[in-house]
């Protein structure tokens, strides 16, 4: 087995045990794992966002790869700006445009400007420009989602709830199933009626609604817990695998070291009593 594999196993075991040590209490191992995880992931996502989104989808559409002999009119000027950027960084802005077979689409200048406005927040005198970008994102999101919500959460839901209670060779089981579904939907919807006080008959209907909601939440909870248990089993399988001789008993060694360190730290530094503010 290569050194890389063994080293990887030790790092995996250390980080897994360090994160699990949080179940005991906040401790230096958890702090190390937490800070490594947050720092590495922030850098990772930043890199991914730039190279997978901004670079191909924005720069790639503004300045796609070109043949210098074919440039005419506006593009002659446009690619002069690009050549200036090439001087700034040739790895981000390689010569002759961004590769990737994108078609030029100058509408993306708007997106580029909105992005620059966000960066303007770093300069106090023009940081108000950032509000335009925020306003665009919020407005666009609300407008874009309303149609989807109306289709899937309202009309499709109505369509799915209109079920027959009898006829078409339906048995008693089908009738009960459909009745439960219809009553559950209508009473559940009634629970979210805000402008009527939930008293008397309204209170009873709304109570039935909340019972339905709680039953569905309970089922959903059980289902999710089952999924989490299988994730835990997967993690334990990895720990067991890495406790074998070929990995240098990584799990056992690290577990002993960590438990011993935590015990010593605990003995050395008793937990301070919580301050009570009168």
């Amino acid at each position: 087995m290569s050194f890389g594999n063994i080293f990887g196993a030790w790092v995996t075991v250390f980080l897994t045990l360090a994160i699990l040590s949080y179940l005991y209490k906040d401790n230096p191992f958890y702090k190390i794992a937490e800070h490594v995880y947050v720092g590495v992931s922030a850098a990772y996502w930043g890199t991914i966002a730039f190279w997978n989104q901004v670079w191909p989808n924005l720069f790639g559409r503004l300045w796609p790869e070109y043949d210098p002999a074919t440039l005419t009119g506006f593009n002659k000027f446009w690619y002069k700006i690009y050549n200036g950027l090439t001087w700034f960084s040739s790895s981000i802005f390689p010569e002759n445009g961004i590769p990737g077979n994108q078609e030029q689409n100058l509408w993306y200048i708007i997106a580029f400007l909105l992005g620059l406005f966000m960066l303007a927040r770093l300069i106090p005198s023009i940081n108000w420009l950032g509000r335009w970008s925020l306003a665009y994102v919020v407005g666009m999101a609300a407008g874009l989602r309303i149609y989807g919500f109306m289709s899937s959460n309202v009309i499709a839901q109505i369509h799915g709830s209109i079920l027959p209670l009898w006829g078409n060779g339906m048995g008693i089981g089908d009738t009960i199933n459909n009745l439960v579904l219809i009553v559950g939907t209508v009473t559940g919807l009634f629970y979210f009626f805000f402008s009527v006080e939930h008293k008397g008959i309204f209170g009873k209907v709304s109570r039935v609604g909340i019972y339905f909601l709680m039953i569905s939440f309970g089922a959903s909870f059980g289902f999710a817990v089952m999924g989490r248990i299988s994730l835990l089993i997967g993690r334990f399988n990895i720990l067991i695998e890495y406790s074998k001789e070929q990995y240098g008993y990584a799990t056992i060694v690290l577990l002993v070291v960590m438990v011993a360190t935590l015990l010593i730290l605990n003995l050395k530094k008793p937990e301070p009593e919580e301050e009570i503010v009168e």
Binding site: Y22, G130, L134, V138, Y147, S161, V186, S195, S220
Partner: protein
């Protein structure tokens, strides 16, 4: 001899008839689909492709002789997008295992046109107009008279109580606006609630900590918190670091927020926004430090965890209505009333639909079909 010839003819005729009736004559039906407003859509159905043969679909544009292969078509019933106002011919060719052409079929020239309206989406359009109309009507009513009743929601009453408790204990308030970006309605709603919470923390001079998972949410959060502190006359208490970025990664963010909870031990934790699998990790940690926790989300799968581990949970619509409750803005109160009317209409539609469906009249349900 004569009988043998007749028998042979009968056999040949039978084979021909059998082939005609059940054989694999390649047939292509292509029709212009009028459901898309942009036009450009053809519905293609191919019959007669043998099980062991493959097929390819080509198109030929008006005025050209070249057949262009449509590589994305691998089903016998497919939708094909073509350019508007360009006459197009579709050709299907079947091949045997060795790549020899078995058969081919060619459609008539087809033409698509762009349209202003997509009639198959009329129900959705009408529903949207009626919903918007009702909401606008009740907003205008609310502006005229401000006595719109809204039933009490326990979780919302607890907002001020939780911040008051944190103030009394001299501890901070932690606000978690979910892990998604500002293009999610829940995140927008969470940020609006952050505005209300930050007004209270400004009023009570309590520390506020808002770790976020998205850069745009951080900017929006800072903007709204700054505005709240200004409106409460405490701009000196505001600093940008109140709203700070951790990471985009879901579980790294959860680990980071857990660390903040364990070290700072906030007295009140607000989880308002869009959450996924990290919800239980956050809520359990908040519970373990003894903080009063108020959660709110529209994420159906995460509600059970919040209900289990938090003191108060705003379920779905309650969460979206929260800003109207807290702000008491007539426009928002009117919109809640308008939405209630829409809900009442939906309940009536369902009940009437069930009766129609039970009596065998299926036309009513078809009105709400989404293609």
């Amino acid at each position: 001899m004569k009988n043998k010839v007749i028998l042979l003819m009968v056999i040949l005729l039978s084979i021909f008839i059998f082939n005609f009736a059940f054989g694999n004559e390649l047939n292509i039906e292509v029709e212009v689909d009028n459901s898309e407003p942009e036009g450009q859509l053809l519905n293609m159905k191919v019959t007669g492709v043998e099980d062991n043969s493959t097929f390819k679909v080509f198109k030929q544009l008006d005025g050209t002789t070249e057949w262009i292969e449509l590589k994305s078509i691998d089903k016998l019933s497919s939708k094909i997008y073509i350019g508007n106002d360009i006459s197009t011919i579709i050709r299907v060719v079947t091949y045997d295992n060795e790549g020899n052409i078995l058969n081919e079929a060619i459609s008539e020239p087809l033409l698509t046109k762009a349209k202003w309206f997509n009639t198959t989406r009329l129900t959705r359009f009408l529903f949207l107009v009626i919903t918007a109309g009702l909401i606008l009507l009740y907003i205008s009513k609310a502006k005229k008279k401000h006595d719109i009743f809204l039933r009490p929601i326990a979780g919302l009453k607890a907002f001020e109580e939780a911040i008051g408790r944190a103030t009394e204990m001299g501890k901070s308030v932690l606000f978690i606006p979910g892990i998604m970006d500002l293009d999610q309605v829940e995140t927008i709603s969470g940020i609006i609630l952050l505005g209300h919470v930050s007004k209270m923390t400004a009023r009570y001079e309590t520390d506020l900590n808002v770790p976020v998972a998205r850069s745009i949410v951080m900017e929006a959060g800072r903007e709204i918190v700054r505005e709240s502190y200004m409106s409460e006359g405490r701009p000196d208490q505001f600093n940008n670091d109140m709203v700070h970025y951790l990471t985009d990664d879901q579980f790294a963010y959860a680990a980071g927020v857990n660390g903040i909870m364990l070290r700072e031990k906030p007295a009140a934790v607000f989880m308002q926004g869009k959450f996924y699998a990290e919800s239980l990790i956050l809520a359990e940690t908040g519970n373990s430090i003894g903080a009063i926790q108020i959660a709110g989300t529209g994420s159906q799968a995460q509600l059970p965890f919040f209900i289990t581990a938090c003191d108060y949970t705003l379920i779905g619509e309650e969460f979206f209505a929260a800003s109207a409750y807290l702000g008491q803005d007539p426009k928002l109160l009117g919109s809640i009333k308008g939405q209630d009317m829409v809900k009442a209409a939906i309940m009536i539609i369902i009940v009437v639909g069930v009766l129609f469906e039970s009596f065998g009249a299926e036309f009513f349900k078809k009105l709400f079909e989404i293609g």
